[in-house]
């Protein structure tokens, strides 16, 4: 049952990205292009997602545990580390260069556009380089 939920969640996530326009890199760089023809859509995607998901946290009772399985694995780390900031800055540069972040890249993998394939293959190689060069930190997600 828990795996069916994960599968359905993946499908819903993909549809959300598609409907919101975030699977179109021109909408991503349009948002990031403050000095051009600015496209605010990405901000509204964040607003819609956070409006829904924050309720899930506000009404969460940690002692009760999730409905289907085990306990909550929510990141507890609170230090602001050099890795956190450096990694996020590098991610932002890659995001601005390619117009993709991980979700939209994977969702558009079989769209027939070579840029998506190029991006996803490069991203997996980037993760491989990280694993070979840095010890794995506790992840936030």
């Amino acid at each position: 049952m828990s795996l069916i939920v994960s599968f359905l969640s993946g499908i819903i996530f993909a549809l959300g990205l598609g409907i919101s326009g975030m699977t179109q890199p021109q909408k991503i760089v349009g948002f990031l292009d403050l000095f051009g023809n600015w496209d605010p859509a990405l901000a509204f995607v964040m607003v819609g997602a956070i409006a829904v998901h924050s309720v899930a946290y506000l009404t969460l009772k940690p002692e009760k545990g999730p409905a289907l399985k085990g306990s909550y694995s929510i990141p507890k780390k609170s230090q602001i580390t050099k890795s956190l900031v450096t990694g996020s800055l590098l991610f932002g540069i890659g995001w601005g260069l390619s117009g993709f972040c991980p979700g939209p890249g994977v969702v558009s993998l079989f769209s027939g556009n070579m840029a998506s394939v190029n991006f996803v293959v490069s991203m997996v190689i980037g993760m491989f380089i990280y694993r070979k060069t840095f010890s794995s930190d506790k992840v936030d997600g």
Partner: protein, 145 residues
């Protein structure tokens, strides 16, 4: 409100719903960069099935878009091939060093007001704004057709 904004809010709400199902039913964070990494590296059958299955759903949802809503996958961003490759490398490396991406930090972390995620989101947004400003308006590479 224009149609783009309405679609952005509806799509965003679906992303929020997906993250909520993962959290409240399975106790997991729907962070795509972590899910992709776990699906490819250090995979252990008893612990990482949910990541593979979520990733399969994400790809199947994408195939659904290909069939029923192909306009959602039109890419008019003209960028040099090697810059997309470099971008992918930086996204892969950066999201793992920084422990998350737009979903893990931007949606999930911001929704629980995690200071780490707020700092991460501000950092990747700032870097993204600067990167596009420099590439589009200084070097004149990359542009929307």
């Amino acid at each position: 409100m224009n149609a783009d904004i309405v679609n952005a809010l509806i799509g965003g709400a679906l992303i929020g719903l997906s993250a909520t199902m993962m959290l409240r039913l399975n106790g997991k964070i729907a962070g795509i960069s972590g899910i992709v990494e776990s699906s490819f590296f250090g995979f252990r059958l008893e612990e990482n099935q949910w990541q593979i299955v979520f990733l399969a759903g994400l790809i199947l949802g994408g195939l659904g878009l290909v069939l029923f809503y192909p306009d959602s996958l039109v890419n008019t961003f003209e960028q040099k091939f090697w810059l997309v490759s470099l971008g992918g490398l930086l996204v892969g490396f950066g999201t793992r060093l920084g422990s998350g991406c737009t979903s893990g930090h931007g949606v999930c972390g911001m929704s629980r007001l995690s200071l780490r995620s707020i700092i991460a989101t501000l950092s990747f947004m700032a870097a993204g704004f600067l990167t596009v400003a420099v590439t589009f308006h200084f070097f004149n590479v990359g542009g929307v057709q």
